[in-house]
Symmetry: C2
Subunit: 435 residues, 2 copies
Amino acid sequence: MKNYSTQMDAAKKGIITQEMMHVAKDENITVERLMALMSEGQLVIPTNKNHTSLTPYGLGNALRTKINVNLGTSKDCLNIEEEFKKFQTAIDLGAEAIMDLSSYGDTKRFRRELIARSTAMIGTVPIYDGLVYYNKPLNEITEEEWLDVVEMHAEDGVDFITLHCGLNREIAEKIKNTNRLMPMVSRGGALIFSWMEMTGRENPFYEHFDQVLEICREYDVTISLGDACRPGCLADAGDIAQIAELVTIGELTKRAWKKDVQVIVEGPGHVPLNQIEANMTIQQSICSGAPFYVLGPLVTDVAPGYDHITSAIGGAIAASQGASFLCYVTPAEHLRLPNTDDVKEGIIACKIAAHAADVAKGLSGAALWDYKMSVARKNLDWDTMFELAIDPEKAKRYRKDSHPENPDTCTMCGKMCSIRNMKKAMAGDHVDIMD
Amino acid sequence: MKNYSTQMDAAKKGIITQEMMHVAKDENITVERLMALMSEGQLVIPTNKNHTSLTPYGLGNALRTKINVNLGTSKDCLNIEEEFKKFQTAIDLGAEAIMDLSSYGDTKRFRRELIARSTAMIGTVPIYDGLVYYNKPLNEITEEEWLDVVEMHAEDGVDFITLHCGLNREIAEKIKNTNRLMPMVSRGGALIFSWMEMTGRENPFYEHFDQVLEICREYDVTISLGDACRPGCLADAGDIAQIAELVTIGELTKRAWKKDVQVIVEGPGHVPLNQIEANMTIQQSICSGAPFYVLGPLVTDVAPGYDHITSAIGGAIAASQGASFLCYVTPAEHLRLPNTDDVKEGIIACKIAAHAADVAKGLSGAALWDYKMSVARKNLDWDTMFELAIDPEKAKRYRKDSHPENPDTCTMCGKMCSIRNMKKAMAGDHVDIMD
């Protein structure tokens, strides 16, 4: 019998768990520092007691930036095989988390199989699943039923769940009374808002937050406090609705910590580049350093088809300024459900952002990867360059498609290659592009 | 007969040129402010007197961020038709500048045709062309011959030329004596360094800088002071060689201004995200606000195949912090000469970075594009979304490949679409995903 409930509880009690040892070793920090951060809520290890295949990962500003991959069935795309392909792509490319956002079909079966197979942590948004599970009109779902879905996901082994607990009636009024261009772009938030409007009741995840905490504590599910009011366009960034909800989330964060429940906080959204740092700073102060999980942020609204890039820009800045967990965005965002190719592109862009931020933060060992790549580049050692590339397959394919006359150089510069010429010049040799 | 030599000379004399009027109108600033900035060197309008097809664009921190597209023949890829396809892609996608980096074949003919056709400003690196033009060993090219190539390009109508004037013998010694991982990754810089090493002479573009200025003044060619010592890997960023060269460039900038020659300054390179702001600030102080033209910066070395993304991250930050001109980077960087598809991807990524920065700087009108897109998104007005998209073709194609049951929404969310549901909920209507 374990003498602690959650990883946070263990940390507070000074108990070193296996998960802590694993993460400390993986991240090259001491278990003591890890525990101190965990007991203060600034670092979490989402690890549902029922997710036995999990490789534990830590989320926190002091650690490597982690990335999440969304997948799941929808009514328009009910292709289980394709979703498992996306899953495999995510695992192969090293994503630390996968959110199953399924909203159609046999979601329970899919979720259980996913959890059984996944070494990455699994997150869900129980609200979506409630609609599938009960298969009845939204306004007829009861408060108990909403909470039952949370318990069902916890029991199935979900490591973190997004709940839009901060969207209480007070915040909903602000949404109605402020002149937002896009009132709410959070899918789950809009459903809860609609439910509240139709039933006239308080958000059940806010009203019965203590009950939610009990469930999370029992299975050690990390709560991801969803930002229903995240800005869905630059024009709404940093407005009253967003920040008011963040304040509520900050209060809920502390209530969760008192019950030893691990918390991460979700963040924007669409944010102009110059507002990202302020967003990170304010979240860290309001939520006392709870790990920040950002959805982007996208630095412009005008690039559908390229939102993996708009969010890589925002994500890199966010992670270098305090965010510890990036949700990937694919080129399909705002256009369609991503296919497996989109998923791959989204993951790579997100990994670039995460790594760039880790280097910027001066994280121990992060720049070593770049250093090794540069040594290989300096030596025109193509095999090692491919091996170290974030996507060896694409790098190899690109080079293979071209035919440099000199096998050492590439078709960009040929014998004008600066690496080639400097090697000779620094050695005092004759340099020419004619030989 | 014009009563001024260069645009800068005109600005100093208080003469309003047609180019100034065009740029002021295009950028929505007063001609008075434009002239004041131009007379202080903080804004340039590269416009060679012999480039008659040019649409004048201004470069400067106070204006929209501009982008440059590199193209040109090489020994490995001598396909004039493909290069003109790249040219057309650049023009169609709104690139304001094109650098012709041709290093093989009938470069003179290609350059002249490019200039005759191009509404975008044209830049070149005469050093590359010197090797083609004289067709003799590098060390046998004389100082006069190097300068003659500059004059030839000026006469042909090139609007801005990159010359690595800052790489004098003192800086070359620093390159040899500091422990850089990658001594020099600038193609032109490495050629000049090699020429200096082999001949034992001073860099002709440094030694005869006054003569260079005479040529530039005569044709109103803007000098782009090349950064031969730009870091080629994160490990070398911000080192002595880079900053020492920047100091020299700062001195040369002021000498150019005295002769009324317009100047832009080239910048890194590979730079960790956390060093970008400092780079921009230092360049602006050392070079007294001369427009900064950055090559990236790339925020990690590990992503060959995705360097349009690594540089979009760096470019967006750089431009938001002071850079006014971004050189695109394509997915082919570090691997091969880009093809037309690579060029397109590079341009779009660079445009995203430039626009995100313009929004961040609060540039008049920049955020209006995002606003309009968001209004269309809020209205689920797909036609307008496509029209406003940075790449309408890709956005349309992505959506067309998917088949949403509801023509208003997309396959990502279907009836769970937050826009759809909030529209109903805000209007007090019933919301359901079953209908």
